[in-house]
C-alpha cells in the first residue's frame, strides 16, 4: 500500500498548529526556579570545601581527626576535633534516649490505639512541639531543666550536656512520631485483621505485626532524629556550654561542633585566618555526617513506600 486517498474531512492533527513560545518561556522560568535549589547545594559545597582544603593544608588531616585537644585560640593552637565530636555524641545520646522510645510510643498510640477524633486532636498539639523555636528550648533547658536536675540531687554544672540532651530529645519526639506513624499507617489492614483472626491481642498486633512491618520507616525516623540532633545549634549553644571537653559525663559542660561554629562565627574573626577556616572544616564534617544519615533515611522511607503503597 502506498498512498491512500483520504475521502471526506481531513483527520484532525492533534498537535499544536504553531509552536507556543509563551509556553516554553514559562517552562523555562519554572525550571529556573528549580535550579535555585541546585545552586544552593553547589553553593554549600563550594562554601565549605574551598576554605576547608586551605585549612587542611595548614593543619594535617590526621591531627584534626585524631587530636584530643581543641584549642584554636590558644598559643600554640591545637586543632584536634575529637572533643567536639565527643561533646556532640554525648548530647545526641541523651536526646535519642528520650525521642526514640517516647516518639515510637506516641506513634503506636496515634496509629493503633487512638480513635480518629482523638487522633486529629492530639496530633496537632504534639506537632506544636516541633514549632517551638530552638532558642526557646535552649532557654528552657538553661533556666528550668538544669535547676530541676539540681533540685533532684544531681550535681550538674550551670552548663551541662544532660539538660540540653533531654530537652532536645523532647523537641525531636514529633519528628520520630510523625514519620513512624506514617509508616505504620501504610501497613495494610489485612495484616492486622489476619493476626486478630488468629486470636492476637492489640498488644501483640502492635508489637509483632505493625512495628516489624513498619520497621524501615521507624529506623528512618530514628536516623533523621540523630541527624537533627547532631545539627541542632541553639539548645547546645545556650545550655551545654562552650568548653571543649572530652567527656561523656552528662553532668559536665561540653562544646558541640555546632556550638563551636556558632560561637566563632558570631565574633569578628578576621577572614583568612586559620581560626576563621576552622568554621568551614567543622562545618564540612557536620555536613558530611548529616548528609550520609539523610540519604540513609530517605532510602529507608522509599523502601516501605515501595512495599506497601
Amino acid at each position: 500500500m502506498a498512498t491512500t486517498e483520504v475521502i471526506g474531512p481531513q483527520p484532525v492533527r492533534l498537535r499544536a498548529v504553531r509552536r507556543r513560545w509563551g509556553e516554553d518561556v514559562i517552562k523555562g522560568l519554572l525550571a529556573l526556579c528549580a535550579l535555585v535549589s541546585v545552586a544552593t547545594t553547589v553553593g554549600i559545597v563550594i562554601a565549605l570545601v574551598e576554605p576547608a582544603i586551605e585549612f587542611f593544608r595548614a593543619i594535617p588531616f590526621t591531627d584534626y581527626a585524631t587530636g584530643t585537644r581543641w584549642a584554636p585560640t590558644f598559643e600554640p593552637p591545637s586543632f584536634g576535633v575529637l572533643p567536639l565530636v565527643v561533646g556532640t555524641i554525648s548530647v545526641t545520646l541523651w536526646a535519642c534516649l528520650v525521642c526514640m522510645p517516647f516518639g515510637l510510643g506516641a506513634a503506636i498510640y496515634l496509629s493503633e490505639y487512638a480513635r480518629p477524633r482523638v487522633r486529629s486532636l492530639l496530633k496537632p498539639i504534639l506537632e506544636l512541639l516541633a514549632g517551638i523555636p530552638t532558642v526557646v528550648y535552649g532557654y528552657f533547658a538553661l533556666t528550668f531543666v538544669t535547676p530541676l536536675l539540681r533540685d533532684a540531687g544531681l550535681p550538674v554544672g550551670v552548663f551541662n550536656a544532660l539538660a540540653a540532651g533531654l530537652v532536645m530529645g523532647v523537641m525531636l519526639i514529633p519528628t520520630v512520631a510523625s514519620l513512624s506513624e506514617d509508616a505504620m499507617s501504610a501497613v495494610p489492614r489485612e495484616l492486622r485483621d489476619g493476626a486478630y483472626a488468629l486470636g492476637s491481642t492489640k498488644l501483640q498486633v502492635s508489637t509483632r505485626i505493625v512495628v516489624p512491618a513498619a520497621i524501615s520507616g521507624i529506623v528512618a525516623s530514628y536516623v533523621l532524629a540523630v541527624s537533627r540532633a547532631i545539627g541542632e545549634t541553639m539548645i547546645v549553644a545556650i545550655a551545654a556550654g562552650l568548653q571543649p571537653n572530652m567527656t561523656l559525663n552528662p553532668l559536665e559542660a561540653v562544646e558541640t561542633m555546632t556550638a563551636f561554629i556558632a560561637a566563632v562565627g558570631q565574633g569578628d574573626v578576621p577572614t583568612g585566618s586559620t581560626e576563621y577556616k576552622t568554621i568551614f572544616a567543622v562545618g564540612l564534617t557536620l555536613f558530611v555526617l548529616t548528609l550520609v544519615m539523610n540519604v540513609i533515611s530517605i532510602r529507608l522511607v522509599r523502601k516501605y513506600r515501595e512495599v506497601y503503597e
Partner: protein, 293 residues
C-alpha cells in the same frame, strides 16, 4: 445439671494478657504525655517568668544595658520585615519549583530524580550550615555585609525545600480528571496549570507556606553567623544592620544578669505569640478551605 464442657475464649482473653495490654497502653499514653507535659511546663514557666516585663516598654523601646528600660522594638520590627521579604522570595520560587517538578518534569530522566533527591536532602541540612553559606557568599563574598537582606536571603534558602515539598503535595492532590477536562476544552498546559491546578491547590500551598514562614522566623543559628548578633538601637532597614527577635532572646539569655533572663522570657512570649498566631492561621486555612476530591 452439669454445664457442657465447652469453653469458648471469644471476647475474654487470659487475664495475664489483658493485664499486659493495659500496661502497654499505659506506657504508650506516658510517651505522649512526656511531650504534652513538657510543652505545658515550658509555656507556663515562660509566661510566669516573663509576664511582668511584657509591657509597652518591651514593644516600643530599643535594647539597653538597663533592663528596666530595655525593649525589643528593633528586633520585633526586623522579624516582621524578614517575614514580609521571606513570603515575597520563597512563595514564587517554591511554587515555581513545585509546578516544574509535578507538571513538567519527566520523572524518568536522571536529572529530575537527582533534583528531587537534592531537595529532600536540603530539607534536612542543619540550619547552621546555611549560616556558613551566608557568611561565605552573601556577607563576605558578595560584600553585602551584615544586613537584613542577607538574613532574608539565607532564611529563604533554608525554608525553600519545606515550601517546595508542601506545594508539591498540594498540587499532587488535585485530581488528574480536572487537568484532562481542561485539556479537552483546548487549554494549553500553562492555562491548565494557572487556571485549574493552582487555584485548587492554593489552600494547601498557603498552609505550607505559613508553616514554613513560622519555622524560619524562629531560626537563630544562621542569623548568628551572618552577624545579627549586635546591639541595634534604631529601627532596621532592609540594607542596614539588624538583629531579629530570636537573636535578641539569645543575647538576653546569655547575659549573666537575671533580670535580662526575665526580659528574655517576655520576648519569648512575644515570639511565641507571633508564631502560634501563624500556626493557628495555617490550621484554620487548612480546615476551612481544603477540598476533598
Amino acid at each position: 445439671m452439669s454445664a457442657p464442657a465447652v469453653a469458648t475464649g471469644l471476647g475474654e482473653g487470659p487475664t495475664r494478657g489483658r493485664w499486659r495490654g493495659h500496661l502497654f497502653r499505659g506506657l504508650l499514653l506516658l510517651s505522649l504525655a512526656v511531650g504534652f507535659i513538657t510543652l505545658g511546663t515550658l509555656l507556663v514557666d515562660v509566661v510566669q517568668r516573663g509576664f511582668a516585663y511584657l509591657d509597652g516598654v518591651l514593644l516600643t523601646s530599643p535594647p539597653s544595658s538597663n533592663p528596666e528600660i530595655a525593649g525589643a522594638r528593633p528586633a520585633i520590627l526586623a522579624t516582621i520585615y524578614l517575614g514580609v521579604l521571606l513570603i515575597a522570595f520563597t512563595v514564587p520560587i517554591g511554587v515555581g519549583t513545585a509546578i516544574y517538578l509535578e507538571e513538567y518534569a519527566d520523572k524518568t530522566r536522571w536529572y529530575n530524580r537527582a533534583l528531587e533527591l537534592n531537595i529532600q536532602n536540603l530539607a534536612a541540612v542543619p540550619s547552621i550550615v546555611y549560616g556558613i553559606l551566608g557568611l561565605a557568599f552573601l556577607v563576605r563574598g558578595l560584600g553585602l555585609g551584615r544586613v537584613l537582606l542577607a538574613g532574608a536571603l539565607i532564611l529563604t534558602l533554608l525554608v525553600l525545600p519545606t515550601i517546595i515539598i508542601a506545594a508539591r503535595e498540594a498540587i499532587r492532590a488535585v485530581p488528574d480528571s480536572i487537568r484532562q477536562g481542561a485539556y479537552a476544552l483546548g487549554a494549553t498546559q500553562w492555562q491548565v496549570i494557572s487556571r485549574q491546578v493552582l487555584p485548587a491547590a492554593v489552600p494547601g500551598i498557603a498552609t505550607g507556606s505559613i508553616l514554613s514562614l513560622s519555622r524560619a522566623l524562629g531560626e537563630t543559628a544562621p542569623l548568628l553567623l551572618i552577624g545579627a548578633l549586635q546591639y541595634i538601637a534604631f529601627d532596621p532597614t532592609i540594607l542596614g544592620a539588624f538583629t531579629a527577635l530570636p537573636v535578641q532572646i539569645f543575647i538576653w539569655t546569655k547575659l549573666p544578669n537575671d533580670e535580662f533572663k526575665t526580659l528574655a522570657a517576655a520576648a519569648i512570649i512575644v515570639l511565641l505569640g507571633i508564631l502560634l498566631t501563624l500556626n493557628a492561621l495555617a490550621i484554620f486555612l487548612r480546615n476551612r478551605y481544603q477540598k476533598k476530591w
